[in-house]
């Protein structure tokens, strides 16, 4: 290994500056960042929806986060971060203008080319809206590439609903057909649907063209089984049902072993899998 290779090796993280911060909910914050080095920004701006990056906070650790922005808008990256532990707490302490290190992008991401000229049913639960927002923005920016785009989004309460204004704005501009639901509405002022996310299928079922549809989902592990049932009822082929999975990750590039499921690594071969993969690999969901 020569010195140049040493400098640019695969674990090298690059300094990024925070351009904007916004609270999406009481425990989830929006981060807009840009790499300090414009060459890096250009290179790493070529990611795919569904890929993720790894943040490094020296002294605290590293953690993976889904890229929430779209590669069709290359001058920045966006993330949605839920405060759950030490690294995310350290990220919450950062201010606009502060810098921290990011490496990536990692993972297979969605095969957007395959989905061209199809209807898309995008189903999200809770934090799942963060990675799927990348795909939604992508579809809106390349609207003519796709036919109908249905977005079914669920959260526990109205307070937990992320990017609500963004999604409703896209809906109003008729970029996508958005349906929102919450499990509970403690304050009683929620204008949309109440109930689990699978109930939203009623709203689109009679219009789904199963010969020409891709379905994509992301949410808490418990959600997948129920959503898959609905999709199979609509006769969407198994290889056209995509989902992104979360696993413990310590490297992001197939070295540390933590994200292994059977013979695949979620960080390399995933995090996007088809339902076909899921049936083959027993432990996937």
């Amino acid at each position: 290994m020569n010195n140049k290779e040493r400098k640019n090796h695969q674990y090298k993280a690059h300094s990024a500056e925070i351009l904007d911060l916004k609270d999406l909910s009481y425990d989830t914050r929006y981060f807009k960042v840009k790499f300090v080095d414009p060459n890096i920004q250009e290179k790493l701006g070529e990611y795919k929806p569904g890929q993720f990056a790894i943040f490094s906070i020296p002294g605290v650790g590293e953690a993976p986060f889904s890229i929430s922005s779209t590669p069709t808008r290359q001058s920045f990256l966006e993330f949605g971060i839920r405060k759950v532990g030490s690294i995310t707490e350290a990220l919450y302490k950062l201010k606009i203008g502060d810098k921290f290190d990011i490496r990536g992008p990692y993972g297979n991401g969605f095969e957007m080319d395959k989905m061209k000229d199809h209807d898309l049913i995008i189903v999200s639960g809770g934090l799942g809206a963060v990675p799927l927002r990348s795909l939604l923005l992508y579809a809106c920016d390349k609207r003519e590439d796709f036919k109908n785009v249905y977005f079914l989004n669920g959260a526990r309460t109205p307070e937990d609903m992320l990017f609500r204004e963004d999604f409703m704005a896209m809906h109003q501009r008729e970029m996508l057909e958005t349906h929102l639901t919450v499990d509970e509405d403690p304050k009683g002022d929620w204008p949309y649907h109440i109930g689990v996310v699978t109930k939203l299928f009623e709203k689109i079922a009679d219009r789904v063209n199963n010969k020409n549809t891709y379905a994509i989902m992301c949410g808490p592990p418990i959600m997948y089984k129920f959503v898959i049932k609905e999709l199979l009822k609509l006769k969407i082929p198994k290889e056209k049902i995509f989902m992104t999975l979360e696993r413990r990750m310590k490297c992001g590039q197939g070295h540390c072993g933590h994200c292994a499921i059977g013979g695949v690594y979620t960080c390399l071969d995933g995090p996007v899998f088809t339902y076909w993969d899921i049936e083959r690999l027993k432990e996937l969901i």
Binding site: Q10, V60, K250, H255, G262, E283
Partner: protein, 348 residues
């Protein structure tokens, strides 16, 4: 492959010569165990051993090492010093294990920490005779054809020395007066006799080629629970297995709050919390699931992907698991659960 002859009485001289070429390590007997330790000369080593506690991975993915140092200003990568390390007396199974680690850390995305250690390592293999725990014949790793720099087969009066790399060839060329290229018909006959008698010494044989199917079909078998109930989640099996490479990463603050290091340490999929994610969801909360992961990965998925098990048959798990969970007991239990007659003994 080039092959040379080294008279037995010249072996200590060759070791003396090697000690000028880098840091020398070899099998050293400590109480009733062997381990690869730094040495200076022939007399410190014992080449008549079965297995060291740790394999060559201790040189390539040490149990704990620093990858980065940082302070409030900057982050610095820490690579090992670029000194040559020469390891002597490595058995074929352990060389095969290095080949598996190479595949993982270098074939796809290169790991710079592994690569810098690997580039500085010279592997000198040594022939061995199996004990009852060795199952390398079943895993197809009892013989090694590449992956080493030099490999010495011990015969009656001399060693046959196989050259596996240009580095190895260079070492021989520089110590030319110790070696001869004059390999006679008798030498070849002696070598074949030796190989034959060695291959007849194995006591245990397991048909690993059936394992992917057997594990797949036995996925929900009670056999897994029996092992899961016994397992102590101590992680020893992963620690000693020469192909187990999972690691964890931790940051440590040293001295003042703005100085610290990032460290990698060996981890094991048999330990609790291995698959725990934020929010407290654990994908494998019980021992049965974790034992299943360990053996499914080694004996099913890896065979499916690479055509060979990620077990090199070194017998370490057989020797060290305190409750007798190992490739042999697992395979035998899975077979006999469905197929009474399957006896995993030799000579069938």
């Amino acid at each position: 492959m080039k092959t040379y002859k080294l008279p037995k009485d010249k072996f200590p001289n060759f070791i003396n010569f090697l000690s000028n070429k880098g840091n020398l390590y070899g099998p050293v007997k400590q109480k009733d165990q062997h381990s690869f330790e730094q040495v200076n000369e022939y007399s410190e080593m014992d080449f008549n051993y079965q297995r060291t506690i740790l394999g060559i991975k201790k040189f390539l993915t040490p149990p704990r090492y620093i990858t980065q140092k940082f302070d409030s200003e900057s982050v610095e990568d820490i690579f090992p010093q670029s000194e040559t390390n020469i390891v002597l007396g490595i058995h074929p199974c352990d060389i095969h294990a290095v080949k598996i680690l190479d595949k993982l850390f270098l074939d796809n995305i290169k790991d710079p920490y592994y690569e810098s250690r690997r580039n500085n390592l010279i592997l000198v293999g040594h022939s061995c005779l199996p004990d009852k725990n060795c199952i390398c014949q079943s895993t197809g790793t009892d013989i090694v054809e590449d992956g080493f720099d030099l490999f010495l087969t011990e015969l009656e009066n001399h060693y046959l020395v196989w050259v596996g790399s240009s580095k190895g060839l260079y070492l021989i060329a520089s110590a030319e007066n110790l070696f001869s290229e004059d390999i006679t018909k008798e030498d070849i006959a002696e070598y074949i006799r030796w190989q034959k008698s060695r291959s007849e010494m194995f006591e245990t044989s397991i048909p690993f080629k059936y394992m992917p199917d057997i594990i797949h079909l036995n996925y929900d078998s009670d056999v897994w629970d029996e092992f899961g109930d016994k397992c102590l989640s101590c992680g020893v099996c992963s620690l000693v297995c020469p192909t187990c490479n999972c690691f964890n990463v931790e940051d440590k603050i040293v001295m003042s709050a703005d100085k610290g290091v990032r460290e990698r340490m060996l981890d094991s999929c048999t330990l609790p919390g291995y698959s725990l994610v934020a929010g407290g969801h654990d994908f494998r909360p019980n021992r049965t699931q974790r034992i299943k992961l360990y053996y499914t990965h080694k004996l099913k998925e890896y065979i499916g992907k690479w055509g060979q098990p990620a077990c090199v048959g070194c017998g370490r798990c057989v020797s060290y698991c305190p409750v007798d969970i190992n490739v042999v007991t697992i395979s035998q239990a899975l077979f006999s659960d469905v197929y009474e007659e399957m006896v995993c003994d030799n000579n069938e």
